[in-house]
Symmetry: C2
Subunit: 240 residues, 2 copies
DNA sequence: TAAAGATAAAATTTATAAATTTTGCGCCGA
DNA sequence: TCGGCGCAAAATTTATAAATTTTATCTTTA
């Protein structure tokens, strides 16, 4: 019973390069591979148990996504973080996601509204952390959280725009991962999602856009505080 | 006197992979490599006089940019064209570039306005086609045209957004290249640029946005006509 | 006609070689 | 004695060539 048979209907089994790409991406986004770290081929070959070519291909893909920086003739590095980038990414995300949400709402269908309702319901029933004391990432919550936000903008009618939003979400995910480690603060994020959902179902586009923007800006503010708490230049590297 | 010394201050010489990437990209955008065409490694190795590794890396980068489609275990293909994609890209470009232009204008400085004026002036003094009879692409005009549009949105303050706009411009360039071959029609594109410039210098953001959007929609409409003139499914492949 | 097997072609990966950058050491001069 | 310059060795990245795996095609057989 191969997993590929389930995943791929008419498609071919994934290549090693694709598999490595996904692993590497996950490790970078979770900051198991710290920002700024040099990605030496020798190290990667050992850790990911793969040859040079598939690794090199994965790194090249990640370079285009700006998660890895490739310096000509001197190797690859995990993209460093900076307060500057955090600000830029947040600003951009607010711009394009409010735009996409506006379009989604203009194209709203009963199916879409119902799917959103269900996605929100599922998210509410899952704990943010696997452990109520110290924070322990709940992958299922992350998945559902992401699905809810993806659904919000999913009806905009532009796959390129959706892809761009996903990329921004990826690049911001890293900052959230770093922040969470430092300070597990309680935030009524659930309320925020509920209010966004309400505005959407009320067909109040202006309010929905306002709340979504506020949601992202608040996240960035918290991250900024957590990151600034221990170091000012924000070029910190946290080990996994 | 090495050219690398001029181009790179402290940087290293480009790798073959990067050089091949640029060549491949140029050939795809100009449609010298036709949409939908299979990119066999054997062929590429001969034509680009390079080994497998740099070619493979270049293809992987282009895959992330959606200019090349990589089917697992069965090779790479130039991304096919479709009226659907033309429409989607144009719509998206209008959305994000009007957004970026609005921000650019909000951040306007005298330097920026003057640079725009100069860029437009340069563009006006260069002929669209090297030959007034039949169309012959003038690379310098393309360069200046692109520079003018890049400058319009360049002050928006978001590098990710600028990058996204560039990617959209790349992906649309291919459609323009195909269209131009089929029908070299006279269009007062110069007037359109002049009116956009005027609106920007007048600080009339709403008007500037309207004109920019109109500019892109008109382009798409002409392309759609040209492409539909000879075949309906728009999966045409034009040979170089 | 359809299925199975064999052959050929092509893509992916590993292994080897070449080129480039980094590092360490010794020398010279201040 | 200290600091800079330059050369050589080591490490690392990049590129080529070979081997492996997978897919596609063609023929044969039931």
């Amino acid at each position: 019973m191969n997993v590929n048979l389930l995943k791929n209907g008419a498609e071919s089994p994934a290549t090693l390069a694709t598999s490595i790409y996904e692993q590497l991406k996950a490790d970078i986004l979770s900051t198991r591979l710290e920002p700024g770290r040099k990605l030496q081929l020798r190290f990667l070959i050992e850790h990911y148990d793969a040859g040079q070519t598939p690794l090199r291909e994965a790194l090249n893909r990640l370079t285009t996504e700006d998660l890895v920086i490739g310096k000509e003739q001197r190797g690859f590095f995990v993209k460093p973080i900076s307060l500057d980038e955090l600000h830029e990414l947040t600003k951009t995300r607010c711009w394009v996601e409010t735009l996409a949400l506006r379009e989604s709402m203009a194209n709203a269908t009963p199916d879409w509204e119902e799917a959103l309702l269900v996605a929100h319901h599922r998210l509410e029933r899952i704990p943010r952390s696997l452990n109520p004391e110290h924070f322990e990432d709940n992958p299922e919550w992350e998945r559902l959280h992401r699905a809810f936000h993806a659904l919000l903008i999913g009806g905009c009618g532009s796959r390129p725009l959706i892809g761009f939003c996903e990329q921004l979400a990826d690049r911001l995910y890293r900052y959230r991962a770093l922040s969470i480690r430092k300070a597990f603060r309680v935030r009524k994020v659930s309320d925020e999602h509920a209010r966004i959902l309400k505005a959407v179902l009320d067909r109040d586009a202006a309010e929905a856009e306002r709340l979504l923007q506020q949601h992202y800006e608040k996240t960035a503010e918290i991250i900024r505080t957590d990151l600034g708490a221990t170091n000012n230049d924000a070029a910190a590297t946290i080990d996994g």
